[in-house]
């Protein structure tokens, strides 16, 4: 059996209002999928539900990680099984340094003491790839970080924690052109047969650096179209309206 992250007929409500309306999506390890779609379509909701955000009610459906339904698990348990979410809006935690936090997270992730030397080796490699200053490691987690710094910090965490599956929620927004290239380099360094990713973005530019195997389009809580890399280009040119019409036409028939 190939290992994959599989979302089956997922229906999600917030305060009784349906947000996701039957999402189906399969990301095998070794592949990178892009998820695009208009504002409010439900992309971030999908990411947070997969990661275990308790503020969403699961009405129906399954999320299978390597065959195991994880919807009943706490967020930390999911993380320990190899799931990672890079937040669209990373949260500030004052007084907790990145280094301290990451060491705790790494020990939690692998369920063992991680020797300082091993930890620093991982950290150093990530910092190098991300062309970052080590001084950031002793700063408090996201506190006072610029939008771009927060995003870079998410990828730093990704690289240190080495998950099996990562969902990157608009990691490109807020990054300048140089930073975008560097951060994409960080994600690409993770790519390999044991790693799968879902990259949420509005812009085809990012997909020039992190080339996806598959592109999905989400509208109004559903995946409405799946295609290859060229679908992203088409969306950039034509927007989403035509898709809406296409879907409407399909549903009418």
């Amino acid at each position: 059996m190939t290992k994959m992250l599989e979302i089956r007929d997922l229906w999600i409500n917030v305060d009784g209002r349906p947000i996701l309306k039957g999402v189906n999506l399969t990301i095998p390890r070794g592949e990178v999928h892009a998820l695009m779609g208009p504002n409010g379509a439900g992309k971030s909701t999908l990411g947070k539900v997969i990661a275990g955000d308790p503020s969403y009610q699961v009405v129906k459906g399954e999320v299978l990680l390597d065959g195991e339904n994880i919807l009943g698990l706490e967020p930390d348990e999911r993380a320990r099984k190899g799931l990672f979410l890079a937040f669209q809006y990373p949260v500030e935690v004052p007084g907790v340094t990145i280094a301290n936090f990451l060491r705790l997270a790494l020990q939690a992730r692998f369920g063992r003491e991680v020797p300082l030397t091993e930890f620093y080796a991982k950290l150093q490699r990530a910092v190098e790839v991300l062309e970052w200053d080590e001084a950031y490691l002793t700063r408090y987690l996201n506190e006072g970080f610029s939008g771009g710094e927060k995003k870079r910090n998410e990828i730093l965490q990704l690289m240190v924690l080495e998950p099996a599956y990562a969902i990157l929620d608009e990691t490109d927004s807020g990054l300048d052109i140089d930073a975008l290239k560097i951060v994409a380099g960080g994600v690409n360094a993770m790519r390999g047969p044991d790693f799968g990713a879902l990259v949420i973005t509005h812009y085809q530019r990012l997909l020039g650096y992190i080339v996806p195997d598959v592109v999905h389009v989400m509208m109004d809580g559903r995946i409405v179209k799946t295609g290859g890399r060229e679908l992203a280009l088409e969306l950039e040119e034509r927007g989403y309206d035509w898709l809406g019409e296409e879907v409407g036409a399909q549903e009418a028939t």
Binding site: R80, E92, P94, V96, F101, L161
Partner: protein, 469 residues
Amino acid sequence: MSETELKHISEDYQWGFADEVEPEVKLKGLTPEVVRAISEIKGEPDWLLEFRLKALETYFEKPWPRWGPDLAELERQMDDFYYYVKPPARENARSWDEVPEEIRRTYEKLGIPEAEQKVLAGVGAQYDSEMVYHSIKEELEKQGVIFKSIEDGVREHEDLFREYFAKVVPPTDNKFAALNSALFSGGSFVYVPPGVEVEVPLQAYFRVNTEGFGQFERTLIIVDEGAKVHYIEGCTAPIYTTEALHTGVIEIIVRKGAESRYTTIQNWPINMYNLVTQRALVEEGGYHMWLDGNLGSKVTMKYPSSVLRGPGARSEILSIAFAGDGQHLDTGAKLIFAAPETSGSIVSKSISKGEGRSSYRGLVKVLSRADRARVNVECDALLVNENSKTDTYPYMEIANETASVGHEATVSRLADDQIFYLTTRGIPEDEAAALIVRGFIEPVAKELPLEFAVELNRLIELEMEGSVG
């Protein structure tokens, strides 16, 4: 407190065990006879007995405070406390071998002798009313540093003692200072001669063992010109169903150009009323830091204060209060600017968990002669649960126009999005909550000596277990 409540609390509180130790003397009730008996046991000079008796009168004259936490229950029990309990041990042993085994084991469990070996310059250990151990490193003694029980301070250094005693906190200061002045027993007398720098801390450890007991230690610290010292105080007690009382008075004199620090890690069980007066008088160019960590107790009322009496004197007052179910911690700080170019800052961090309540009560007073005084006050409250409470009473009296005064207060809640963020990285919920709390107090906690910071982190982790979700 009900038995089930007690059981629940005892599970969290590691130091709630009691020793089977039969006291030599136990004095009950709040009377002049008890005061006389204490003074006689200690073989005190007449002036000190007179001082005590007068203080007792002051105590009775002063009304119970009607502001702050509810003390009605305490007021009803005042006649029932033991006000002096002498343990069956010799005073001020200089070697742990001379401390009775049962008592020694308690301090061993608390890790005191071990810390003494590794990181301290001297240790004083009080058990109920008396100091059963008091010792300082020889090389410091040779330099003229005095670190003794308050009783030995009176006996062996009467002139020096009398010159400073009760000058910073007179019995008339407040009702509980009067009570302490009448009943005081134990505590330390510290003198650091001019120019002597005590690089590693001195520590006093206060342990209560007897049920229904009131502990009244008194500490007097004199840091002479250009000298330096760091004094640490820690405290624990068994958990009983009845209330207990701890009313200390700490007086510190920081002479010209001297530097001192007083650190408290209070971890009383939650049947304790902890009503403490601590004040430092800072002379020209001197510096004093109060670092105050309050975790335990049923009620704490404590407002460390510094009087900046000489030009250029400085003080910082940093505090952490952690109030859980059934606790009301009313803590804060007082800064009095009484000379030009003085400066001070207050940083107060409080955490309220469950039904706990923490209050910040602060006074900043700039006298008219304090030209260009500078003060900054920051008080931050963190609420862990829906029903946790906090309040702030920041009083300011500024009588000099050239003074610069900054004040900032924040109240935040342990945020779900912070917890979610941290848990998505594999950190379990309880640990995530503890991490956020530790981050919140970090600006204060980073000033603690490493061993104490580690201990504080451990206590917070314990407190945060099962607190969210």
